[in-house]
């Protein structure tokens, strides 16, 4: 469990990071909870690490308009401790609770996890459901990308080699909405076998809108079409129908923990329960 030899530098400014990234030889280290295990297994062998853990500019949660701005190197711990997140993005708070354990949440960063893009990780689904915008920077300039365009495949994103994940912008939640995150975890890793993030709006008892994102199932988190739930009261039978087709076009993973059949089933159950819970919270 010893990585190959590498150089290490601790960045003092974002500019310094952008300069280093432009050389193409470096890998960024934030919380390290994805990268360091890979290095220890020698699956990743970066020649140089730039540690961005000390850059306060990349950390913190601010109220921005009716939404939120979250620095990319903000830890899960800080997200859990944030009253603003609980109020304006309860879905994010709920999903963060399910991430790993206390030690990992203390060190792991939201931007690090999103840039890593593990196909079973929780946050991509949350970002899709909340319609987040990611602000990226490089020596050449700034760029914004929608979460819904960002994830490209397993461990693959739109983030370019010379770019740093700078911040996350979350819009205000829709009016009369509720949200829920339901994850069925693989018991060893804690990663989702299948999980669903739902944002539901309602009018009286009737669902007027559903945004549903699924993770753990395919090569990346994705938005799923559960629009058939609109107009219903979210009863079991209605939602069973509404979620029946959410995996169409998706190649479902199978591994030693879950067959494709079971994983598909769990995704539908997670979706149904997330929609029901979100509906119960809407108002």
């Amino acid at each position: 469990m010893i990585p190959v030899e590498f150089d290490y530098a601790r960045a003092k400014t974002v500019r310094e990071v952008l300069n280093a990234l432009s050389t193409g030889e470096v890998k960024l280290l934030a919380g390290g909870h994805s990268l360091i295990p890979l290095m220890r297994f020698r699956l990743a062998q970066p020649a140089k690490l730039i540690d961005i853990g000390g850059l306060t500019e990349l950390q913190g949660i601010d109220v921005k308009g009716k939404g939120l701005r979250i620095g990319a190197a903000t830890t899960y711990r800080d997200i859990l401790d944030s009253g603003a997140v609980k109020e304006r993005a309860p879905l994010l708070a709920e999903a963060t609770h399910t991430i790993a354990d206390t030690q990992v949440r203390n060190r792991g960063t939201i931007g690090g996890g999103l840039a890593h893009a593990d196909p079973a990780s929780d946050m991509p689904a949350v970002m899709l459901a909340l319609d987040a915008t990611f602000n990226l920077r490089s020596k050449a300039g700034k760029r914004s990308v929608q979460a819904r365009e960002f994830f490209q495949g397993a461990f693959a994103t739109d983030l370019k080699d010379d770019e740093i994940f700078y911040e996350i912008i979350l819009p205000a939640p829709p009016k009369k909405s509720g949200s829920a995150y339901v994850s069925f975890e693989q018991k060893a890793s804690g990663y989702a076998i299948a999980a669903a993030a739902a944002v539901v709006t309602k009018s009286r008892k009737t669902i007027t809108g559903v945004t549903l994102a699924i993770t753990g199932v395919g090569d990346k988190a994705f938005l799923a079409d559960a629009s058939a739930a609109v107009g219903t009261h979210g009863e079991d039978a209605e939602l069973d129908l509404a979620v029946a087709g959410i995996l169409s076009g998706i190649t479902v993973n199978a591994d030693i923990h879950a067959s494709a059949e079971y994983r598909s089933h769990l995704a539908r159950v997670a979706a149904k329960r997330a929609i029901q819970t979100a509906l119960g919270r809407a108002g």
Binding site: M1, I2, E5, K187, H257, S259, H265
Partner: protein, 784 residues
């Protein structure tokens, strides 16, 4: 003075463990330390055609590279030390480094010694080994079929042993029985996962010809003996020190190649050498547990009387016979086929199979969990077949206390026990009747609640040495202790066992302090160094307190007897006129005339005024060899709810009533039960080591092997009955393994009970949501 026996004082070892100030093997630092890494086979079974170490030797910081060929004729093989008689056991040579063939992923091929751990690791990648892959065989049942890949030329069909246990006439019983049930049970392979991985530090004093080996050992005296065999160094030239040990669960009993390799390197290179496993290496090469495929049957009469049990078991031993491996699925398993019941007819056949996997050896419970599981599953299946309450079937067949001591059909004699009382207590605590009513209501509402019972007994406190000899165990099973009293009345006790988390530094101090009437802080317990401890056989088989504690008690009694003689002399009184009271010997009727233990310690050690013929000093050693094993027992009951939409099981309550005799330290007993139960729930619910068909360990990290986490586990409600055993002076029985032994069938029975309305009668553990869901789909008539 209040007695310490029975007092739940805090564990004195915990502050150093919890504050990171213990001294574990990897903490040992020496001025000339070099670091070792092992080049391991990536293939499950292959011929080695080339080992080129040139590039590795030239790698920066590398001191030496040693291959299997380099060792031929210079060292012995890794021994198996449990030569179970009458089973045709074949133990083919296990080389410390593979010479011409590798037999599992992780089999050692070369040893690198370098100036740093990183340099050693880098050089591992530079050793160029050519392999010609041969077929893998990972399943113990398939491995012994004709046509399976042959692992050892000496072992036809990979059959390591065929062992039979028989009592009564099972064939006749089954032929005539009106009721028969059978199951195919898979006791999945498990990874012991001690918190501290294995490690070794060796240093060799060339002038003295003396090897010192620090290593992670549950039994340093056994390791000294086995290292002597492997290295050809006389036993008195080897000092094995097992410092703080971070758990073992059996995995630190065996002799492995690695510790001997490090020793050999130190002896030949003139450098001290350290090796520490990483977790991936630990999962690949440190022993695994269980791995049985069992065909089991039970028969009986319509009133629920069990008349027979029959088994055919395929037990995987892995690639080589590990130190105690042959005894685990045989002696420690088959002899317990009567469980807590009167079963007059028993027949079991155990086939031990070599497979191209990591060696399998004793893992918490070692053979007994497998026995208890199959019996308890059969009892439930038998009851269900008869539409009888599984509790009533148990009540009918449990051995009544009036029959104790009771000799079961396999020939062993249970020393004591009151099984019915323990069961009734557990039933009362969980409100069995009330839960059955709740369950019936829940079923009507479409909810699936279940209750599972496990009434167990187990054999531990290993054991009489005479029996050890009869069953082929290559050592004694007595224990010994030295109690040494200093002039100031402080006491050090040296023991032959090696506690590694069980708390005996505390409980053993309680035993000694009670005997001498001194504060517990005045007593130090010393374990783990073969140069200063008493000869012992180690900590496993829930034997440390039952055997080692008894030896310690006897040594303390000897010291006290001498102190009494000295007191009589100093008080000019007759020994018979003295009584022990509040830490002093007093003259009866004249309590002012007294000598405290402290005064006697001083007078014995200065020896100014000793009685004629009495030697100076105040110390004694004692050996204790029990007349029998001990048989703790009890009843565990759990209640569960299964979400049939996802297959997920929630454990609602877990109640256990255990009887391990009187408790020296009730808090520590409870901790042992909790740990054991959690480990058993892990086995029942989520732990499984999986080899792919080509022999790769698919669960090689904690990302895939589901060690129980606190957040996944229920609260354990611990209760007890207290029945002393007659076989040791403390009356105590082992409690380290009971929780694991009892809990696995307890949980599985509860889940099967919950799902019984669906017609489900068995699901192979671990009962992961995926497996439970698949069984539900099958029961509903095929998956969607």
């Amino acid at each position: 003075m209040a007695t310490l026996f029975g007092s739940g004082i805090k564990r004195r070892e915990d502050p150093r463990f919890l504050s990171g100030t213990g001294l574990f093997t990897d903490d040992v630092k020496l001025p000339d330390l070099a670091y070792a890494a092992v080049v391991r086979s990536p293939y499950a079974h292959a011929t080695i055609t080339k080992v080129d170490v040139d590039a590795a030797r030239k790698s920066p910081g590398v001191i030496a590279v040693i291959t299997g060929k380099d060792l031929v004729g210079k060292v012995g093989t890794v021994p198996c030390a449990f030569n179970v008689p009458g089973c045709g056991l074949i133990t083919p040579p296990h080389h410390m480094l593979a010479v011409d063939k590798v037999r599992y992923v992780g089999d050692g091929v070369a040893l690198i010694v370098a100036e740093s751990r990183a340099a050693a690791r880098d050089a591992v990648d530079l050793v160029d080994v050519d392999y010609e892959p041969l077929g893998a065989t990972v399943d113990p049942e398939k491995a012994v079929q004709p046509g399976a890949p042959q692992l050892h030329a000496e072992v036809p069909n990979n059959v390591a042993l065929t062992w039979v246990v028989a009592g009564g006439d099972a064939e006749a019983a089954f032929a005539s029985a009106p009721v028969k049930v059978k199951l195919r049970i898979v006791q999945q392979r498990l990874l012991p996962t001690a918190m501290e991985p294995r490690a070794a530090v060796a240093t060799f004093n060339k002038a003295m010809g003396q090897l010192t080996l620090w290593t992670t050992s549950q039994n340093p005296h056994i390791h000294r003996f086995l290292c002597s065999l492997m290295l050809g160094l006389p036993e008195h030239k080897i000092r094995v020190i097992s410092p703080d040990v971070g758990g073992g669960f059996g995995s630190k009993i065996p002799a492995y190649p690695d510790e001997a390799l490090v020793s050999y390197a130190a002896m030949t290179l003139g450098r001290s050498v350290k090796w520490t496993e990483d977790r991936s290496e630990n999962y690949k090469v440190t022993i695994h547990g269980r791995d049985h495929i069992e065909y089991v049957e039970m028969c009986g009469t319509k009133d629920g009387t069990i008349t027979g049990i029959r088994t055919k078991v395929y037990a995987g031993l892995g690639a080589y016979a590990s130190t105690a491996a042959p005894g685990v699925p045989t002696i420690l398993h088959g002899l317990m086929y009567s469980g807590a019941y009167m079963i007059p007819n028993i027949h079991g056949t155990i086939v031990g199979a070599y497979t191209s996997t990591a060696p399998v050896d004793a893992y918490r419970g070692a053979g007994r969990p497998e026995a208890t599981f199959l019996i308890e599953r059969l009892v439930d299946t038998f009851a269900r077949e008869l539409k009888l309450d599984p509790v009533e079937v148990r009540r009918k067949n449990l051995i009544p206390k009036e029959k104790m001591p009771y000799t079961v059909a396999t020939g062993i004699t249970y020393d004591s026990g009151d099984y019915h009382t323990a069961m009734d207590k557990a039933l009362g605590i969980i409100d069995y009747k009330g839960f059955r009513e709740e369950q019936a209501k829940a079923r009507k509402a479409g909810k699936y609640l279940g209750i599972g019972v496990s009434t167990y007994t187990e054999i531990c406190g290993l054991g009489p040495s005479q029996v050890a000899g009869q069953i082929g165990f290559g050592g004694g099973l007595y224990e010994s202790a030295i109690v040494r009293v200093y002039p100031t009345g402080m006491v050090r006790a040296y023991i032959g066992t090696r506690p590694h988390g069980q708390g005996e530094e505390t409980t053993f101090a309680q035993i000694v302090a009670d005997e001498f009437g001194v504060p517990v802080e005045s007593v130090e317990i010393v374990a783990g160094d073969t140069d200063n401890t008493a000869q012992g056989w180690g900590t496993y088989g829930s034997r440390t307190t039952a055997v080692g504690g008894a030896a310690l008690k006897n040594a303390a009694v000897k010291v006290k007897e001498k102190a009494k003689k000295l007191a009589a002399h100093l008080l000019e009184a007759n020994e018979n006129d003295l009584e022990w009271n509040d830490g002093k010997f007093q003259v009866k009727g004249s309590p002012a005339q007294a000598k405290s233990f402290g005064e006697l310690a001083l007078m014995a050690n200065v020896a100014w005024n000793m009685p004629a013929g009495m030697e100076p000093g105040l110390e004694a050693n004692a050996f204790f060899d029990p007349t029998n094993f001990v048989f703790p027992y009890g009843t565990h009951i759990s209640t569960v709810e299964v979400d049939i939409e996802t297959g997920d099981t929630k454990i609602l309550r877990y109640v256990c009533v255990d009887d391990c005799g009187p408790h020296i330290n009730p808090m520590i007993v409870e901790g042992q039960v909790h740990g054991g139960v959690i480990q058993g729930i892990g086995e029942a619910m989520q732990e499984i080591a999986i080899y792919t068909d080509d022999g790769q360990l698919a669960t090689g990290t904690m990302m895939d092997y589901a060690v129980p986490k606190a957040s996944q586990m229920p609260r354990v409600e611990s209760h007890y009955t207290y029945t002393p055993t007659p076989v040791n002076p403390l009356g105590v029985k082992g409690i380290g393994e009971a929780g694991t032994i009892a809990s696995v069938p307890c949980i599985v029975n509860a889940v099967i009970d919950a799902l019984s309305p669906l017609g489900i009668t068995h699901i192979d553990k671990p009962l992961t949501p995926a497996r439970v869901w698949a069984a539900i789909q099958q029961a509903k008539g095929g998956a969607k």
